[in-house]
């Protein structure tokens, strides 16, 4: 319900854009649906402060990159960082930087069971179709005291291309050589088993409506809807429950200068292993298509503000995980490399 409310709020924001004064700067972006509630809520807070109007379309990460490529939006948003091939296909160099992170949780629907531990091996075997029943000894072994029913596991995955799938399958390739060689990772993969649900709500709905179901959903959704989810054994051998702290810990590792990193299977002992960033993408040189300096400045100031504690607090309020300080610092240094006619826009 919260997300629907936010969506309506966005619609109002867009509607009000048209009645506004013509001389104020308007920005537009498109992409990830996962991060949309965070952006729209934060933008609503930003507009009264600065008068800059921002519209955001949750059209999917891939479509967001396409919109930026066609130069119909000022920024793209994606849950999967751009590959070298995607970057090469852009008409001009781009920069990308994370804005917040989230965890992917393993949700389940078993009568009377609210907590569960999973090892990477068991998780991969379920998605490989090797473990097919909840009474499998491998599950009982890591969950002493939990009485699993004799019930087939209904594996659930996303049917639409999705950044969530990208994060989850990236984790599977790291923990299962068999998964890596047979299925790999990406926003859409060739699933060996399972039911496809459309969007995070579709997967969560299928899980909550099907006894014996098991699937991956974006943490924000599971936290808000209070669907039970499993704790996962991380690289250090500790079972970790997804939370703000454990997801944040996953993002604390060494960050490459171009920020293109998957933070799944983090070596940090406090980190939840299935986590990922979501990125914003801008053109490095902002003087294109008759764009004014004012527009470029507004765009850069917006994202500078989005990394500040004010906006990051908004992220946490609506169940996203704020960036660690080290990543914020790196992001800000990336923003300073964006230019207008070759001159840096932010000082």
């Amino acid at each position: 319900m919260k997300k629907i409310g936010l969506f309506l709020a966005l619609a109002l924001v867009i509607a009000s854009c048209h009645s506004g004064k013509k001389n104020s700067v308007a920005l537009s972006g498109a992409g990830s649906t996962f991060v949309m509630p965070f952006y729209t809520t934060a933008f609503q807070k930003y507009t009264p402060l600065t008068g800059v109007k921002i519209s955001y379309g949750g059209v999917g990460s891939g479509a967001g990159i396409k919109s930026l490529k066609d130069r119909v939006v000022d920024f793209g948003a994606s849950d999967a960082f751009m590959t070298d091939a995607q970057m090469a296909a852009m008409p001009a160099p781009v920069v990308e930087f994370p804005t917040c992170s989230g965890a992917v949780v393993m949700a389940f629907n078993l009568p009377g069971i609210t907590t569960m531990k999973l090892t990477p091996e068991v998780l991969a075997d379920i998605y490989l179709g090797k473990i097919t029943n909840w009474n499998d000894p491998a599950l009982a072994k890591i969950n002493p005291g939990v009485k699993f029913p004799n019930l087939p596991i209904t594996v659930v995955h996303r049917s639409d291309g999705s950044g969530t799938t990208n994060i989850f399958t990236n984790y599977l390739t790291k923990v299962s050589p068999e998964w890596k060689s047979k299925y790999g990772f990406g926003t859409t993969v060739n699933w060996p088993v399972g039911v496809g649900g459309k969007g995070n709500p579709g997967v969560a709905g299928t899980i909550s409506q099907t006894t014996g179901a098991f699937g991956y959903v974006e943490s924000t959704y599971a936290f808000a809807e209070k669907i039970p989810f499993a704790s996962i054994k991380n690289q250090a051998g500790i079972f970790i429950t997804p939370s703000f702290a454990s997801t944040s810990a996953a993002g604390k590792g060494q960050m490459p200068q171009d920020t293109r990193i998957m933070i799944t299977d983090s070596p940090d002992s406090a980190a939840y292993p299935i986590a990922g960033f979501t990125w914003v993408i801008l053109y490095k040189e902002q003087h294109y298509n008759n764009r004014t300096l004012a527009q470029a400045q507004a765009l850069l100031k917006l994202w500078d503000w989005m990394l500040d504690p004010d906006a990051q607090a908004v992220a946490q309020q609506i169940d996203y995980v704020p960036l660690p300080a080290s990543v914020v610092a790196l992001d800000k240094s990336i923003l300073r490399t964006v230019t207008y006619d070759g001159k840096p826009i932010l000082q």
Partner: protein, 283 residues
Amino acid sequence: MNSDKITKYVLFVTSFIILIVTGGMLYSLIQGSLPSFHTFGWKFIISPEWNPTKGNEHYGALAFILGTIYTSVLALLVALPMAFSTSLIVAEYFRNSWFANVVSTCVDLLAGIPSVIFGLWGFYALRPFIVHIGLTQQGFGVFTAGIVLAMMIIPYAASLSNSVIMMVPNELKEAAYSLGATRLEVIWNVILPNARSGITASYILAFGRALGETMAVTMLIGNANIVPKGLFSMGNTMASVIANEFGEANGLHLSSLIALGLILFVITALINAAGKYIIKKFA
């Protein structure tokens, strides 16, 4: 220019726009699907594998073509007797009675319900029922999707059949009655021979509609990109896989989705042409 000419001109331009849009749609579908047909050739249509993972990319349409045909044929088989009974009730047995009015209003209402509502009904009502009676483990699949599709196409099949049955001349029916024919005999020997082509065409058009239905199917078929192994197997349809995957697709993946769209376009066009032909030929 007089007003008559102006009217003619305006009418010509507006209908020409329709031609341009249809032609442009076909052109962009062909244009977009070229890379895929270039890479896979005619094997695209007969290959059952659909693998979007980078490095192992391979696309084939067979699973989706079969998924589409299975669900639509099942929908037609279920809808056929129901739509036929409804037509006879409304147009013959209880013609102009309050009962016929209620039934035909309900049929019209069904036609106006958005597809996502049918999907929700299938998801929250039909699916648990199918699980409850033990037909399948989790309730998704060709069967569930086909049943919901059947409900969606009944109005299309029924309302056209209604008008065709009503158009059978009263003189013929009265002549048969006067010779002592029973109602059943009148239906079989007078109404059906006269309305046959219209009824058949209405079912073909309903079938065409089932082929392209997207939302309700994607909510119920399980979205497993495999060739359905039977009535209770999961699967996927062309319309559903396009809706699901195009947002994140690019390159060969996108081209293959557009190629699926082209195949669906051609199949639907053929079905519609067949419907038109039957109306013309036997009317």
